[in-house]
Symmetry: C2
Subunit: 238 residues, 2 copies
DNA sequence: AAAATAGTGTCTATTAGACAGTATGCC
DNA sequence: GGCATACTGTCTAATAGACACTATTTT
């Protein structure tokens, strides 16, 4: 049985969440876009395989970002070439998308997740699930900082939340929450002044905190749903 | 590459959480205990494979319970016979453990999770992760009801929480929380009187609610940890 | 009566969320 | 001055957790 990894690679750029998609030049789904990914080697661990395919296909090395497994896709028939069990990874990349290196064989580019539609295979579903996973993780963890550059302001962190949750947050309450979480932010001492004026904003680096406790809830709009569970049933393998 | 499923099958019995373990009669790890599970057929979906192995090895049909995928174990070398990617499932079974059918080839029995140690392969880790997954899920979902019989009292539901979290909860506050969650419980009208006296307790069946919102937090003791994440790193594939 | 259990009522500390207000920068 | 941004302070409603209290059963 073939085992593959697929990557939902995300970065926030100009207040918007973007994802990496490769343009397929081969059968099947020629001409469609797809998530980066590919088969796992016999002696290769899964995170290594995910990092390797990301590097090979996009020139991005995940070392600065965060790689996290979030789902499995194994329905027989999901790949017309044969049975493939695919392990889905979320790759969170800091700040501006690293310029994509065109490695010759594949063309890859960043596109707003809102505009990512009709991907090959079941990748629409994988992207959707990955986003939903991220949305929930942002409530309980400090993962949002991995979508920020090494030094960032509280506003930048807030923009990450707003982009992922597709909502707006009160800047004042968000400031307080960020500053009151122990070891979430470490002040660098320097400041940054935006192009549109306003008071200088403190610059911070990531602290060691991994967990947000109490969590930061997303506003009512986006549904805090735990996924349906049928009596017999399963999930995240649709 | 071989793809397998492994099951952390759980039930609450006499205020204690129990898990299913099969006694291995073959190489490798002969004589050790292991989690139920086995290879996935070429044309078989993962939840089907999980249900099939549970039925074959324990005689328990998961139809009355709940099956949910929670992790992947794929480190090269985790099985001495060759590369195996294992998908881990949680099986939550209602009420008293169904008597285990000895199917001849394997011996299987229930044992308290506290006493489950030194399992074959990396099954200690899988069991640990599965329990941790369940503990977190109980905070945010109504899954605890799937560990109760079809009709149950609020006390029985509380005992499930106490067994999984290895803690004690205030019965009065728990009652209020359970009763105030919309469509968590449906009164059957009948009552049940325990062997040790006390007022009659209402009997309920599961409602349609899947999500606990706001969540039911576990007391400070058990760590609400989101799992470490290294800069490069990964998780749930250790 | 004593002990155990079920469930309600009440109080307090904490938190989320709304928003006024102040300070600092650009145009 | 006018406007945008950063951040602090304050108020209110909701919630978690502690625990008194009543009711109902067995022993």
């Amino acid at each position: 049985m073939n085992v593959a990894v697929d990557l939902v690679a995300l970065a926030v750029h100009r207040n918007e969440l973007n994802t990496l998609a490769v343009h397929r030049s081969r059968h099947p789904f020629t001409g469609h876009h797809a998530l980066p990914g590919g088969l796992v080697n016999d002696d290769e661990d899964l995170p290594d395989a995910a990092g390797r395919h990301l590097l090979e296909q996009t020139g991005i090395r995940p070392a600065d970002g965060h790689l996290e497994q979030f789902g499995i896709y194994a329905t027989p028939g999901r790949d017309p070439r044969g049975r493939v069990v695919s392990i889905a990874y979320l790759a969170l990349l800091p700040g501006l998308p690293t310029p994509v290196a065109d490695t010759g064989t594949t063309t890859v580019d960043w596109r707003p997740v809102r505009a990512a539609r009709r991907l090959a295979f079941d990748h629409d579903q994988i992207l959707f699930d990955g986003l939903e996973h991220l949305r929930t993780r942002l409530e309980h963890t400090t993962l949002a900082t991995t979508l920020c550059p090494p030094e960032f302001t509280i506003s930048e962190l807030r923009v990450v939340y707003e982009a992922v949750w597709a909502t707006t947050l009160d800047p004042r309450n968000f400031s307080r929450k960020a500053l009151s979480t122990p070891d979430l932010l470490r002040p660098t001492g320097s400041c940054w002044i935006g192009p549109t004026g306003g008071a200088p904003a403190g610059l911070y680096t990531r602290g060691n905190a991994k967990v947000l406790y109490p969590p930061l809830r997303r506003p009512d709009g986006s549904a805090p749903d735990a996924g349906a569970h049928a009596p017999i049933a399963e999930e995240s393998t649709r």
